[in-house]
Amino acid sequence: MAEALTRDLSARLIDKALAAAPLASTTLVVENMHCGGCMRKVEQALCAVDGVAAARANLAAKRVTVSHRSKGAGRTEAFVDALAAAGFKAAELPEEDDSAASNADRDFLRRVGVAGFAAANIMLLSVSVWSGAAGDMERSVQSLFHWLSALIALPTVAYAGRPFFRSAVQALKAGRLNMDVPISLGVTLATAMSLYQTLRGSEQVYFDAAVALLFFLLLGRFLDQRMRTRVAGAAGNLLGLRASTATVLGADGSSERLPARALTPGMRMLVAAGERIAADGRVLEGASEVDESLITGEASPASVSPGRQVFAGTVNLGAPLVVEAIATDQNTLLAEIARLMAAAQQSRGRYVRLADRAASFYAPAVHVLGLATFLGWLVTGHGWEQALTVAIAVLIITCPCALALAVPAVQVAATGRLFGRGVLVKAADGLERLAEADMVVFDKTGTLSLGEPHMLPLAPHDAPLLARAATLASASRHPYARAVVSAARERGLAVFPPVEVAETAGAGLARMTPEGEERLGSGRWCGVSGPAGESATLWYRAPSGKVVPFRFEDRLRPDARDVVQQLRRSGYAVELLSGDRMTAVEAAAKEVGISVWRGRQGPAEKIAHLEGLKADGRKVIMVGDGLNDAPALAAAHASVSPSTAADVSQTAADAIFQGERLGSVVEVLAVAKAARKLALQNFAIAVAYNVMFVPLAVAGLATPLIAAIAMSTSSILVTANAVRLRTARVEL
């Protein structure tokens, strides 16, 4: 018995010692974790990794937190590999940047809980008083109940009301009026007066109204905050999944995989064909082609050779490159873009939100009304005390509970609806700005188009050679080669697994056949001289010596034309603004039906154009993805990016849409407009309620019971109206 006890004890001590060993924790994004089964596989796969103490998946956030002993090099890679083996795509989160947001979440929830507890208990006491007042409740008991209410209400108002007080003080310091000013004033005055009336033993006690008001408002703020945290988390996941790793070459020829953010200037990276370049750098060895569409907007690849600068986010298409990482600030293009973005963000200035604009009319009106009531009662010969009581009752009745819920409730419903369809609305005021726009400016590459090459139809007499070329092409990872293969598959041709294909980096593919050698690659590789023509081209040389060009274009998103037509029908002006070659831009503009287009636009020119439109009184939505669009995205009235966009652009955009469909842009605009309509409706409801009850209050008839009923019903009404947006049909 004693022995067993000792054994048990020692086992526990060992466990404790192990637990005391420093545990590091790493958070990973897991892209395709959809159900409980996935969640379990993820946790089990991670727990099987050596040194992992625990893994806990969070399905709602699509993240998993791993606790493991010590933070050795390559730890994260081991986790990512383990998950890849289990069939999940995972990546490390850049930084623990969202802990502040989730702390704000918890903070609001805690205040909601406290306010809810207090509101329920005070209401219980109040209902007793109201029902007792009609019956035979003694005055002393009534007074006791009021004192108890005060005891609960005072600390609650001090604690739960703090977010509103703080925001109101900030606004007043900046010389502005926002919705929190009348809220804070109403709540504070109601509480102070109720305390005074409790001291006097009067019946005009409004603790229930004040605390219930805080509860409703906090609930609205909490939902708003939680939605924002979710969206920010999802946006962080997108960036985390895109962050690339680099193969870093050591001085001794060793190689090591490092996450992009661990790279420092001077490191040498090996960039394989088809790989994304992880950091800005200068080419040391190798000659290849690089897809720079994300940086410049140009769809056809640029050729690079030693000495040339390459940018993070571009894709190496040809031969492996050795690139020396350089600091970003040495880089003229990126430095320029950063400078332009800072300037653009400054010039956008402070946007005043709908609720705050309403408050700037509402708050003065309410305060003037309160003052007028006070003076009116004073002039008609009542004492100052009664005049003040009635005036404060007016302030309580007009306290904009419904008004302050009107916009956040709608915004939560709208953001939630879009979130469910893969659209992240990032900026809090983004939906309002989107709803105001009257013009949409598109970027071309990667926005209207998919940003991947698509083979143009062949001349009929060349078609039979496609199957042979595709067989050859299937040996390569070059995007053009892949486009040839998929073109052959689309036409129903059989593509055989390639045999004995030799790939010469940066030039092309070759294979010996019984009839002779066949080649696929650049013009020089296939023995063709002369200009390659407008479209990007790949050549195929058959054993017979016959040479066929394959031309490629950047294919438009399947619904691009419909989206443009729909926008124009709904009265939006539509323009195309691209960094690509004139001819390519013109062709795309024609195909989707945009009559106003500009090609060869650098970041500065894009901004200048947007500023010109702004000066004409246009409110422009910029839709773009490239690094070259980032300043324009920041400068426009509102902006939308696809989730394939450059990191900087995603950060600058108000909304990010996922998937191939450009129709998401229409959906965003339609929901934004519907949200604005509902918000205005809610304002109307709130004003109507004021019109009904303010005369009662001015006449001195607003009993605490009336105040409580009026406030709750109007709050519930506006919330119910907002929830309609979750399912309602919306049209642009």
Binding site: M39, A54, A57, T65, L109, F117
Partner: protein, 55 residues
């Protein structure tokens, strides 16, 4: 009326108990992943335990 002397404290105590339970469950992260928690209830054996919260 003497009943009030203990009824009211009892009511407040019970309400406070509810509030304390709510604050505790929030602090221990039970509202962090409502979707996942619904699935975990369906697992047969005990899954991995949540990692220690950092203070």
């Amino acid at each position: 009326m003497t009943a009030l002397a203990w009824l009211i404290p009892a009511a407040l105590f019970l309400g406070g108990l509810g509030l304390a339970a709510f604050l505790w469950s929030m602090r221990s992260g039970q509202f962090d992943d409502l979707e996942g928690a619904a699935w975990r209830a369906l697992w047969d054996e005990d899954g991995p335990q949540p990692p220690e919260r950092k203070r």
